[in-house]
Amino acid sequence: MRWRRILLSRFFIVPAVLLLGTGAWNVYVDLHAHGLLEGSVIDAAGKPVAGATVILSVHDFVTQVEKARTRTDAAGRFRFDDNPSHLIQLQAQDGTEASPRVTIRLWFRGQDRVVTEPLRLAPNA
């Protein structure tokens, strides 16, 4: 009988729930943290742009370091598969035109994410 009282007491339930939650979250993170990042680049008129370079830079509190570059395919889509961070900025460049820096915040490092909002190129002001 004493064991039942302890099991139901607050001091057991709250830590148990916390540990369960952490464990479940860890499993979810492992399944979704391959660093995949996909998105698309369009020009001012909205047409996909092929061959544009997309720069991925990791944004730290103090510094900002460029980590990877890739080019868009024929359909204007680009794909990174080694995103190391949880706070990154994407910028597309094609000749003189460039898109504004888009900040993307993820829930954990390397979270797989498809960027729905395309990077829109604008003539370099």
């Binding site: 607050r10 709250v14 509190f61 949880h86 915040r105 829930w107 490092r109």
Partner: protein, 268 residues
């Protein structure tokens, strides 16, 4: 019943004053607005939880949390054992009892900040630098908690103690079998107070820890404060993460703690 309404009103005002800083802390943690703009917004603007993610990766939070927990557990265990024994010894009449009490009382008046170098030299001599025991050693016993135990032991009726002595129980068994079961409230108070004081200790860990992974939460907070001097949401998110464990433990234990302190040691 008019008095009741007036009493509730006063208590509500007091509660608002006590809770306002917590609300502001939470609000700033979930929005990273630059809190230098005037007028400040009463309701959160564009709330988002990403500050917590940034903080989680910048400061090794689990490691600091783990260190703080281990040190606090050692301190709480030490406090319970040492304070109970000292409290019980002070209830027994012996020569020089008053001078020991005065000595203990005057010990509370020695500020820790002034004892850092000798304390460090002694701990270094014991070879406990940069270790959990070294961190917890000065906190193993607290004078206020000794007196809390002493008060609750004084209130135990003499008849019970004399009966136990007649049955031939040794002093230690009297303490364990007779005294402690009757003063669970004092135990609860001791646990909560020693946990709070060891959890909040800032200066001693600063001096005695060397490596990164021995630091405790207050050091992580002080480190973050200097590293992120400005007041965006990240600093406040970290403050929330630092306070949450302590508050969680307190809220869980508070009913026993409140009952302990407010129902007094024993009736009559």
């Amino acid at each position: 019943m008019r008095k009741l309404w007036w009493r509730h009103a006063a208590l509500i005002v007091i509660s608002i004053i006590m809770l306002a800083p917590f609300y502001w802390l939470l609000k700033t943690a979930i929005t990273s607005e630059n809190i230098y703009e005037y007028p400040p917004h009463l309701l959160p603007v564009r709330p988002q939880l990403f500050n917590f993610v940034d903080v989680w990766y910048l400061i090794p939070f689990p490691r600091y949390l783990f260190n703080s927990i281990v040190v606090s557990l050692i301190a709480v265990a030490g406090n319970l054992v040492l304070n109970a024994m000292a409290g019980f010894a002070l209830t027994l009449p012996f020569v020089g009892r008053r001078s020991v009490i005065v000595l203990l009382l005057s010990c509370t008046l020695i500020p820790f900040q002034a004892t850092i170098i000798p304390a460090y030299l002694i701990t270094a001599h014991l070879g406990l630098l940069d270790s959990y025991l070294g961190l917890a050693l000065p906190l193993l016993s607290t004078i206020v908690c000794i007196f809390i135990f002493k008060a609750s032991f004084d209130a135990v009726p003499r008849s019970l103690i004399d009966a136990a002595r007649i049955d031939g129980l040794g002093e230690m068994r009297i303490l364990l079998r007779v005294m402690l079961p009757l003063s669970t409230p004092a135990i609860a108070t001791n646990i909560v107070l020693s946990f709070i004081w060891s959890w909040n200790n800032f200066l001693w860990p600063l001096i005695i820890t060397r490596s990164q992974d021995m630091q405790t939460l207050p050091l992580g907070l002080a480190r973050f404060l200097s590293y992120m001097e400005d007041t965006t949401g990240a600093l406040y998110a970290f403050v929330v993460m630092v306070l949450a464990p302590g508050l969680l433990v307190f809220l869980m234990a508070q009913s026993a703690f409140m009952r302990g302190l407010t129902t007094g040691a024993t009736k009559g």
